[in-house]
């Protein structure tokens, strides 16, 4: 279990979500009315679960896979992609992520 601190899309009041171990972060965000859609279900093929990770957390996550890189590169032509950009379907929750801070990314 990890507490994840979520800044809404474009800013606003932060909320804290309980994220169970083993679930992709995308599912927690999708099920908590944060505006994350997760159309492809976690197959790294739609880019609708884009989040920005707070800088302190970037190095603590598993690195991007080649597919995630390609998807981020693709949506980079439509929205702002930063070094801190991740697809939240590719982040699996575990206790080491307790306190993770993210901001929901813009809709492509």
């Amino acid at each position: 279990m990890a507490n994840v601190r979520v800044t809404p899309r474009g800013g606003g009041a932060e909320l804290t979500l309980d994220a169970p171990d083993g679930r992709p972060l995308m599912e927690v965000l999708r099920d908590s009315d944060t505006g994350v859609i997760g159309t492809c279900g976690g197959m790294c093929s739609c880019g609708t679960c884009h989040v920005y990770v707070k800088d302190a957390w970037i190095g603590k996550l598993q690195p991007r896979t080649p597919d995630e890189e390609m998807m981020l590169e693709g949506i980079g032509e439509l929205v702002e992609v930063r070094p801190s950009s991740r697809l939240s379907c590719q982040i699996e929750i575990d206790a080491s992520l307790d306190g993770l801070e993210i901001e929901i990314g813009p809709i492509a």
């Binding site: 197959m43 739609c46 080649p66 597919d67 995630e68 998807m71 693709g74």
Partner: protein
């Protein structure tokens, strides 16, 4: 080869109980074998044409691109949301288009277009996502490689002068026959020389030499009378050589046989027949045509019978015995079966006599 035969035999000892049992036997207890197979003659598929075919125990979408240059054989079900591409799909340029959302795929199964996606899913840039069969055009025909696990071909189709040389050969005769059994059972007749004497009424049981080399087998029946080159389950080139009494010289005619599994226990046997391009009216031409008559059925003035008249009644009604009782005059059945087993993936050892692969 005898060591191989003994190895196979010793794993399945003959006993009376097995010989008396028939009700658990199956006509063709094998999966569809791996190999290159004839799909159709090239001139039967026009540029931009799409149609459904049933082969290898499933439906496939066969199409030729609008340029005419490429032929695709694809699984019918779109990897997007499962629509059947063969019902309402169409050829668009060099691609086949699914009717449901107009996703387009090329002949190798790469997704080339999703008309409403802002970003193509990354996997579409890395690999094909629609199952297709590796397909080539050769001999004026369309050929595809079937492997149940979609593995790439490990060998290529051979050069066949009778079909590929621009000049020197002639003969338009073709045929196609359905057999209610699998290719292994049909092909086993090549090494079963004893049946030639009895089922076909040949004057004697001819000697046979079989040599095996990877997916290839060479059969020499009757010391050069019939020399057959087999390339996997789907292609067999048999050359019949006899003395032409009118010229006292040998004359060779060729039967090219390309059988395709429609299902695991039903096969379509396709054949074409070629001979040297002898002048019209020559005795050589007449002799060549008689040789070809003899391959198919009973030729004029002969008692023996070609495959058309006698083999089907056996093929269509027999059951495969994994543990047959053979006698000393039988041909090299077990080495043939051992060779053929390389074309199976996940065969049932008890029903097929094929040892499980390590």
């Amino acid at each position: 080869m005898s060591a191989t035969a003994e190895t196979v035999k010793s794993q399945q000892p003959i006993n009376l109980k097995i010989l008396l049992e028939s009700q658990t036997l199956q006509r063709a207890p094998f999966p569809v074998p791996v190999g290159w197979y004839f799909i159709d003659y090239s001139d039967n598929l026009k540029a931009g044409e799409m149609r459904l075919i049933n082969l290898f125990d499933q439906e496939w979408v066969l199409f030729r691109t609008e340029s005419g240059q490429k032929v695709g054989v694809t699984d019918p079900y779109c990897p997007h949301l499962g629509a059947h591409i063969g019902h309402g799909g169409k050829v668009c340029g060099e691609n086949i288009r699914c009717p449901f959302h107009h996703w387009e795929y090329n002949t190798e199964g790469w997704c080339q277009k999703i008309p409403y996606a802002k970003v193509m899913p990354p996997i579409t840039k890395r690999q094909p996502i629609l199952r297709t069969l590796p397909t080539v055009e050769k001999y004026g025909m369309i050929w595809s490689y079937f492997h149940p696990n979609c593995e790439a071909p490990t060998w290529e189709l051979p050069y066949i002068p009778e079909l590929e040389d621009k000049t020197g050969y002639a003969g338009k005769r073709r045929g196609s026959w359905s057999a209610n059994t699998c290719i292994q059972e049909i092909a086993e007749n090549g090494v079963d020389v004893a049946h030639l004497r009895f089922l076909h009424n040949a004057p004697m049981i001819p000697p046979v030499e079989a040599t095996y080399d990877g997916p290839r087998m060479v059969l020499n029946i009757g010391q050069g009378y019939i020399v057959g080159h087999t390339y996997g389950p789907g292609l067999n080139v048999m050359r019949f050589t006899q003395m032409n009494p009118a010229t006292n010289k040998p004359c060779t005619s060729t039967m090219i046989s390309f059988t395709v599994p429609v299902t695991h226990d039903k096969s379509q046997m396709n054949m074409c027949f070629r001979h040297v391009d002898y002048p019209e009216g020559s005795s050589e031409l007449a002799f060549s045509k008689k040789q070809i008559d003899h391959m198919i059925g009973a030729a004029e003035g002969e008692d023996s019978a070609g495959f058309e008249s006698v083999d089907f009644i056996v093929w269509n009604n027999k059951r495969f015995r994994p543990n047959p009782l053979l006698c000393d005059g039988d041909g090299p059945i077990f080495p043939f079966r051992k060779w053929f087993s390389q074309f199976y993936v996940n065969a049932d050892p008890a029903k097929t006599g094929v040892p499980a692969k390590a």
